[in-house]
């Protein structure tokens, strides 16, 4: 038995075994990525299963965040970013990293939550509605309905329903992060990307977000990057282990954590490096 499962909190959810009819939401194939001259990803291939939580783990600098940030083309904001290969969004196989695909439209389909909670300097309501406004949704009652739904999905509705007009900065760090999750959920994304969403939070706020993520998988496909192996073990269905920009192993979370097939994965999980 490994370390990671020992520290599992009560919030643990038993990973559901991959059912044979589970569909693939996205498929990464032979993805290379460069920051200018530096190649950060080397031929990464992995599936993202529909309505499941996929965790990406690995030591810092292994490229796990880089990989995640390819999914919504946030790298395009910085000069010198270059992709090769594909991330196909199923079922139509749209290659998210293709040059001919507009990164803004990709981001409209793929929601993202960042490491540090970063609500906009606006009201709680406006924060969640911002993702709806950018796609032209202006109908007041529809916006209100979707904001409420997203806040409920993000398990923060009860805490903020009386103060939707208040600035988002008044919320605590954990609440801000759940607000950011609600903001990403409101437009009903095809994929929800979480980039170490609890690294800036205290253990209680972390536990709340973890149980929330597990629930989310009923509605949305989640890809989460985490440096916390316990977290990956607790909340994910599939796990990818990365090292030096390469995907070392991908599989069912239980298998990765109990019976990794690659030595490097075993070394990392048992804390021998990283």
């Amino acid at each position: 038995m490994n370390e990671a499962l020992h520290i599992a909190s009560p919030a643990v959810t038993t990973p559901t075994p991959l059912s044979p009819e589970a569909t693939i939401r996205a498929r990464v194939s032979n993805l290379d990525f460069w920051y200018s001259k530096f190649q950060a990803l080397h031929s990464v291939s992995m599936p993202i299963h529909n309505n499941k939580v996929t965790a990406i783990i690995g030591p810092s600098g292994c490229g796990k965040s880089t990989l995640l940030r390819c999914f919504n083309r946030i790298h395009d904001l910085y000069p010198g970013a270059r992709y090769e290969g594909a991330i196909e969004l199923m079922p139509d196989g749209l290659n998210l990293v293709s040059r001919s695909v507009d990164p803004i439209l990709v981001r409209l389909m793929v929601g993202m939550v960042f490491q540090k909670p970063n609500p906009f300097p606006k009201s709680i309501f406006e924060n969640v509605a911002s993702g709806l406004y950018v796609r032209g949704l202006r109908n007041r009652s529809e916006v209100e309905g979707r904001v409420e739904k997203a806040l409920k999905q993000a398990a923060i509705w009860d805490e903020v329903q009386d103060r939707l007009k208040k600035p988002a900065y008044e919320l605590s760090g954990g609440q801000q992060q759940r607000l950011c999750i609600a903001r990403a959920l409101a437009p009903e994304p095809k994929l929800l990307l979480l980039d170490e969403p609890t690294s800036a939070l205290d253990p209680i706020a972390t536990a709340k977000i973890e149980s929330l993520i597990a629930d989310l998988a009923h509605d949305v496909t989640v890809v989460i990057v985490t440096h916390n192996m316990g977290q990956a073990a607790r909340i994910s269905d599939q796990t990818a282990f990365m090292h030096m920009g390469k995907l070392i192993e991908f599989g069912e979370t239980e298998q990765i954590f109990t019976n990794p097939t690659v030595d490097q994965t075993r070394d990392y999980i048992t804390g021998r490096f990283g």
Partner: protein, 310 residues
């Protein structure tokens, strides 16, 4: 420190004392210089107040310039300054913010952006009188616009453009990249990110820069002299707001004008002492405007820093 000094020999102890004394002396010199600078500023303010404060009265503010010093006032000058500043702000702020935004958020590192960068930095150092010559040769004669409020506002806006650009760039640069990434992350396009997220966050910093720039423009004399703005203006430009439709009229833009610093320069360069009193009074008003504007800008920045820290 003292522990070492006690254990060390006499020479070392003396050396430590010498060093301490050096530091002390320099600290005192530094404060002295500050006092000299402050003293000079206060002397200047006091000199103006003594010379001119008694001259400031409602009549002084509501009279036109006159050949008789005692009857002269600054009505046309402060109206002119106000109108010219309106034009300056209306031109310099959007252009400066636009250029700053472009350089900071759009421009990729290439030869063109490098040229623009060197260029903006040089423009900030071009003497104001050169802008005056530009306005004289280009606006007044080449474009045949005459010596109007519009030209005055144009030349001053070009003059303060670098200040607004630099302030915008600094304000935008100070925005955490997290805000930018999350704004793009919800699928906003570049302009939406600028308009809805970057600009609102940069607003206090931009405002500070704009105020500092405008306060510099208020006090600028040389470029206005160069375009040949008359110094004796005994009438007001047409009112921007009229009692008949369409209620707004832009004829004032084409009116000749004078401004406060021109009026002050004019009175200062007369030989008669009575006019110097008028000059001092104008100087007091001018100082009040610029110091208040700068004080406000300093306050804004102070508040901004505090909110950023918390």
């Amino acid at each position: 420190m003292s522990d070492i000094a006690i254990r060390a020999g006499d020479d070392t102890r003396r050396l430590v004392q010498v060093k301490r004394r050096q530091d002390l002396i320099f600290g005192v010199v530094g404060i002295l210089v500050l006092f000299v600078v402050m003293g000079l500023l206060m002397t200047l303010v006091a000199d103006l107040l003594i010379d001119g404060l008694g001259r400031i009265s409602p009549e002084f503010l509501t009279s036109f310039p006159s050949r008789r010093a005692a009857a002269a006032g600054v009505l046309s000058a402060w109206v002119g300054t106000t109108l010219v500043m309106l034009v300056t702000a209306a031109i310099a702020i959007p252009l400066g913010v636009g250029a700053g935004l472009y350089l900071e958020e759009y421009a990729s590192k290439n030869l063109l952006s490098d040229i623009i960068e060197v260029n903006v930095s040089n423009l900030a150092g071009v003497p104001s009188i050169i802008y005056g010559l530009l306005a004289l040769g280009f606006f007044v004669y080449a474009l045949d616009m005459g010596q109007t409020i519009l030209v005055g506002g144009l030349v001053l806006s070009l003059l303060i453009l670098p200040i607004v650009i630099v302030a915008t760039r600094e304000a935008v640069r100070a925005i955490p990249s997290g805000l930018r990434e999350s704004a793009y992350g919800i699928g906003a396009n570049r302009w939406q990110v600028m308009w809805s997220y970057i600009l609102p966050s940069a607003r206090p910093g931009i405002l500070t820069g704009a105020i500092v720039g405008l306060s510099r423009a208020i006090g600028e004399t040389a470029p206005i002299i160069t375009i040949g703005a008359l110094t004796y203006i005994a009438f007001l430009p047409p009112a921007p707001v009229t009692s008949t439709p369409p209620w707004i009229n832009f004829e004032w833009l084409n009116s000749p004008f004078t401004v406060m610093p021109i009026q002050m320069f004019n009175w200062t360069s007369r030989p008669q002492a009575e006019f110097h009193v008028n000059a001092a009074a104008t100087g007091v008003l001018l100082l009040c405007m610029t110091l208040m504007m700068n004080g406000f800008a300093i306050y804004l920045r102070y508040r901004l820093r505090r909110t950023v820290r918390t």
